[in-house]
């Protein structure tokens, strides 16, 4: 292979580098993403700008192509793995630099269900979008959700299920919130392969989110409404 076929990231200008990072995220190249992040930091970029402009921008393309059937789960996981590499560098710096926090989310897969790929993608994309995320993992019963809501005081509760047999448990959680008079304290978002909008409405969730990108947009939308209400109040 000739030298002309090689890309030296450090020789690219900022715009070219960001575009190349989109490419590298798309191809799931973790080391290259880490290198790109470090180069931009070295050039004085703010961690928050790298996160939103390079990483989230790139993952948005990945998300869109997943939605459109151009990419499939393995490629999305590879891209997510590359993004995680970049996030690991940026996370401590984001805390130091006081990057804006959009909101807080508690998320978990429901009782009886151990599937967490979609949930993990949502967690990562939410973090990328500036949310603080508390991930409860898999197989969560109602007490675990309630305990986390009480201790973490999030804005949003996210629930995920992959199985037809486990998705009704989301209603158990929501009904319990209603019984305790705390349903309106949280935005409840639900997702998972067998779910749809109709199911989300039927169980009393605020929204069904088809994929991670939609989850982020929906969460931001609800946070904006909440701020508007507070400003109006």
């Amino acid at each position: 292979m000739s030298d002309e076929d090689e890309i030296i990231l450090s020789e690219l200008d900022d715009d070219e580098l960001v575009q190349q990072m989109f490419d590298d995220l798309y191809d799931g190249l973790r080391e290259e993403i880490e290198e790109g992040v470090n180069i931009l930091l070295g050039r004085g970029w703010q961690p928050y700008d790298i996160l939103t402009k390079a990483l989230v921008g790139g993952m948005t393309i990945v998300g869109n192509d997943f939605r459109d059937g151009i990419l499939f789960v393995p490629e999305v996981l590879q891209a997510a793995n590359a993004m995680k590499g970049g996030m690991a560098i940026l996370k401590p710096l984001l805390v130091e630099t006081g990057a804006p926090r959009v909101g807080k989310m508690v998320i978990g897969t429901v009782k009886g269900d151990i599937h967490d790929i979609g949930k993990n993608l949502v967690s990562m994309m939410m973090e990328g979008a500036g949310f603080e995320v508390v991930d409860l993992g898999i197989n969560n019963d109602v007490d675990k959700y309630l305990g986390a809501l009480e201790s973490e005081k999030p804005d949003i509760l996210g629930m995920s299920a992959l199985l037809t047999t486990t998705m009704p448990y989301m209603k158990v959680v929501i009904d319990t919130l209603v019984e305790r008079g705390i349903r309106e304290d949280y935005t409840v978002l639900v997702g998972g392969a067998p779910l749809n909008e109709e199911f989300g409405r039927a169980i009393g969730a605020d929204a069904y989110c088809r994929d991670a990108a939609v989850a982020v947009e929906t969460a931001k939308d609800f946070m904006a409404r909440k701020h508007n209400q507070m400003a109006a109040g």
């Binding site: 499939f72 996981l77 590879q78 749809n196």
Partner: protein, 241 residues
């Protein structure tokens, strides 16, 4: 770090759009991508990707998942169900549950029958297959998963959530049905993302086949799972005809 350029350094969106020459493919190219017609032979590869049709006419249409094709065909032969026509949709539809209902509805419309039975469980359709059956007045297999009725839906219950269930078909087709679609052939490390919550493999054997049992054992070992074999036979399938 120097590395080969896959995209000539151009941004991905620009690459994807490309010039007119790369975007124009024409109808012939699209048509060539259409799934082939159902096969007339019961090979595993056909059942996975194309489906199967035993031919007709026959008053009873058994519309089945390709993953059950060989088992149902064996029952048709063993029990002499000459009144039944078996039509299998491609088993790979399982990886896209939203495509199962339109495919089943199209097959019910296209194939003449007096009575039909849907040999699917819910299979991730979120109740949509049950609604289709209610609309058409046809029966379907009980339960959430098509491996539940081998053991009997009641005995199976909710299943063991930390168990990965395989049947004869899935053992034979594990690479084509599971490993390759999940990218494990190209990215073996993704097994951690997919399977971290699983602890054991339960092989529901329809037939007593030492070769398949050894294969199932190897799948369990590949992912570090404990192995259990249950000789279930055909379960509720045996009453289809």
């Amino acid at each position: 770090m120097p590395r080969p350029s896959d995209h000539g350094g151009q941004a991905r969106p620009t690459d994807r759009q490309g010039g007119a020459a790369t975007r124009r493919r024409g109808r012939a190219a699209r048509l060539s991508e259409r799934p082939a017609a159902p096969a007339a032979t019961l090979s595993d590869s056909a059942l996975l990707a194309r489906g199967y049709d035993s031919g007709g006419p026959a008053p009873l249409l058994i519309l089945a998942c390709g993953a059950l094709g060989r088992e149902i065909a064996a029952l048709i032969r063993a029990n002499g169900w000459t009144h039944a026509r078996l039509h299998c949709l491609p088993a790979i539809l399982h990886n896209h549950p939203d495509r199962i209902v339109p495919a089943a509805a199209a097959a019910l419309d296209a194939i003449p029958h007096e009575r039909a039975i849907l040999a699917y469980a819910d299979c991730g359709t979120g109740g949509a297959l049950a609604r289709l059956c209610a609309e058409r007045g046809i029966d379907m297999l009980p339960g959430a998963h098509c491996y539940a009725f081998y053991e009997g839906v009641e005995a199976f219950g909710a299943g063991d959530m930390r168990a990965f269930y395989v049947t004869d078909f899935l053992v034979r087709q594990f690479d084509a049905f599971v490993a390759r679609p999940l990218g494990l052939d190209r990215h073996p490390h993704l097994a951690d993302d997919y399977f971290a919550g699983y602890e054991r493999l339960i092989y529901q054997a329809q037939t007593d086949d030492p070769v398949l049992t050894a294969q199932a054992r190897r799948i369990a070992a590949r992912f570090g799972w404990a192995f259990e074999r249950r000789l279930t036979g055909y379960g509720a399938l045996a009453t289809l005809g």
